[in-house]
């Protein structure tokens, strides 16, 4: 009797012991995500240089030209007369210069109002930066302690303007635009290169290859490639694409390097799908007089499509988050303009995040958090899509 109870207790203790790590890992993940999200918002006391105004929502509001209205108010506050203001707003070159140095944003909780227009300049001085909760508790003290000309905002680092701003040495002005565009270019090219290669190799292995030494070599090699550290692909890309082919540190070199890296992912997923297609389908097609390539491309591949697409999505997700190879092949850390083609210098999402994490200024941690939230959101969408596809089109033959 006692022995039986002891056994039951030990069994239960073991059950708890193996369940704990999973729960712990999930709790840790949840805690990190919360911390990350709260890091994307901060309370800031800023002392503008030049002007010192914020404008009420209604003052600057207009459906078509809020920017002009707010800039007019701002310039008037800086002491320009109407003729100068009109000249600036009409001249595209002057507008561009103004936009490069200043940013017009609709901010939350600026100066105690729910919404205010704020013109932030690259020369604004940050006086204080408080976390979301801490700042909320101290908001009365903070607004009471404002010196003339200073403003208190709730700054959501991850707002719409974050996607349109360029890289900058000033945290307030830094945004994702070049990194997003760079990553899009890379992903697009990776899909063009890696999908045909990966799917082709998978078809060859499943439908064409005989049982011989070459096939076995291919198999062993593929499994090993999937385990090669990504930084080694970086060394390969640096030597072959950047130097030997003389491409230099451009988008095409990055796309070629990452393509080699993700081909095994595409191959493995596609093979699984192709292997799942029952032979009766192939035999039926041959029976109708189809040639081998017709069987492969009109029967087998369409039947395996959901696995292939899942593989492609996973490959894209992998390529999107890879940092080390891009660092080694020399992704630019600071790109002045937007990349405009496969031979342009570029930066990519993970590289931009790496740069921001490495910055000394405390505020860049907020910018980095905002960037990470964007990256993780995109990846979650991709993984969600893969998961859904697998569930929905999981055929039971």
């Amino acid at each position: 009797m006692r022995a039986a109870r002891g056994r039951r207790l030990r069994g239960r203790a073991f059950h708890a012991a193996v369940a704990v790590p999973t729960v712990l890992a999930l709790a840790l993940l949840a805690a990190l995500m919360l911390e990350l999200l709260s890091d994307t918002v901060s309370w800031q006391v800023v002392e503008p240089r030049g002007s010192g105004e914020t404008f009420s929502f209604l003052d600057g509001f207009s459906i078509t030209s809020s920017w002009e209205k707010v800039v007019t108010l701002e310039l008037a506050a800086r002491g320009s007369d109407q003729a100068e203001i009109d000249a600036l707003i009409r001249d595209p070159e002057e507008r561009r210069k103004f936009a490069a140095r200043n940013r017009v944003e609709l901010m939350l909780w600026a100066d105690g109002k729910l919404l205010r227009w704020v013109v932030t300049g690259s020369r604004d001085v940050l006086v204080q930066d408080r976390g979301l909760l801490e700042g909320w508790r101290q908001r009365d003290e903070l607004s009471a302690g404002l010196k003339p000309g200073q403003h208190l905002y709730l700054n959501p680092w991850l707002d719409i303007s974050f996607f349109t701003k360029s890289a900058s040495r000033t945290p307030l002005m830094a945004g994702l635009a070049p990194a997003l565009l760079g990553s899009l270019w890379i992903i697009g090219l990776v899909m063009l290169i890696a999908v045909p290669l990966g799917v082709g190799a998978a078809i060859y292995l499943e439908e064409y290859a005989g049982d011989n030494a070459f096939t076995r070599l291919l198999e062993v090699n593929l499994r090993n490639l999937a385990g090669v550290p990504s930084i080694v692909y970086g060394i390969l890309g640096l030597t072959v694409f950047v130097r030997l082919l003389g491409l230099g540190p451009v988008i095409l070199a990055a796309a070629l390097t990452l393509s080699l890296l993700v081909v095994p992912v595409v191959v493995i997923a596609s093979r699984e799908g192709i292997r799942g297609v029952p032979n009766s389908l192939r035999q039926a097609a041959y029976g109708l007089g189809a040639t081998r390539s017709q069987v492969v491309f009109r029967v087998v591949l369409p039947a395996a499509l959901s696995s292939v697409v899942t593989g492609v999505i996973l490959a894209v997700a992998r390529a999107l988050g890879e940092t080390a190879p891009l660092l080694v092949i020399g992704a630019a850390v600071f790109v002045p303009g937007l990349p405009n083609g496969p031979l342009a210098q570029y930066t990519a999402l993970p590289i931009q995040i790496y740069t921001w994490v490495g910055e000394n200024e405390r505020e860049f941690a907020h910018v980095a958090s905002a960037g990470i939230v964007v990256l993780l959101a995109v990846l979650s969408l991709l993984y969600g899509a893969a998961f859904w596809l697998r569930r929905k089109y999981e055929k039971r033959w």
Binding site: G200, Y204, A209, N224, V228, P229, S230, V240, S293, A324
Partner: protein, 313 residues
Amino acid sequence: MSTAGGGGNGMGRALRLSRSETRRERLVAILLGLAALLTVLTTVAVVIVLARETFEFFRDPLVSVWEFLTGDRWTPLFADKHFGILPLVTGTLLVTVLAVLVGVPMGLASAIYLSEYAPPARRRTLKGILELLAGIPTVVLGFFALSYVTPVLQGLIPGVKFFNALSAGLVMGVMILPTVSSLASDALQAVPLSLREAGYGLGGSKLDVILKVLLPAAFSGLAAAVILAFSRAVGETMIVSLAAGQRPILTFDPRETIATMTSFIVQAATGDQPVGSLAARSLYAVGAVLFGLTLLMNLASQALVRRFRERYE
């Protein structure tokens, strides 16, 4: 492998194809074969690139193979150059061992839970979440280590540096957890039901069956999972470059700032080393060691998996 169509290159024999059709069929086969061949070429290119530059590196009079393997100073980027890879190897080992100490027990436990205890619906959800965890880019994990884990550690343990091996190792443990968990639970699920039933038939409790039947039966599969996790930790770059620092010193103190093979490669590649200089070549020598190590571990892991499969399938 398809059995339909007769295998081999039998097309055009069973059916009478026109010459253009035959030509097209052959072209398709060749193109597909080329795609497969390219995966082999990738490996060949990696080996050639690493071997050539490493050979050049060792031909330099300043470098000797003996010093490279046994020297305890690694300063290729300084004026006084020393090329002893030991500090990088111990740095890598330190972080990897920490990661394995965290990731393997947790991964194995979660594999046992997922494959033996969790009800099917919960297993699917948890597996999905673990996959998501595996998909977090390592640059993000590096940020977590640096900004969230390190401050906590500094509060708990005296003497923890801002860049330290401990924080990187712990977070890397979380990184390898999904790998261990998913491979190990595959191995456990592959153990035939008859073995479990025999265990219960002998009067074993669930715990007895897991500890005395399943784990020994799945041993080589579990070992393969652990070795693969080891290999992933050795090759991991971003967590260590962000959170562990870039100071190659020979130490086993996890509170210290260290450098690993991967973080050195990043450091050397992002600095302005002239192409062909000794410092630039040292990157390839380190890369070759890294590639060799991970290759050995991957091969060992595959051999174990094969043995495991042969026994039960």
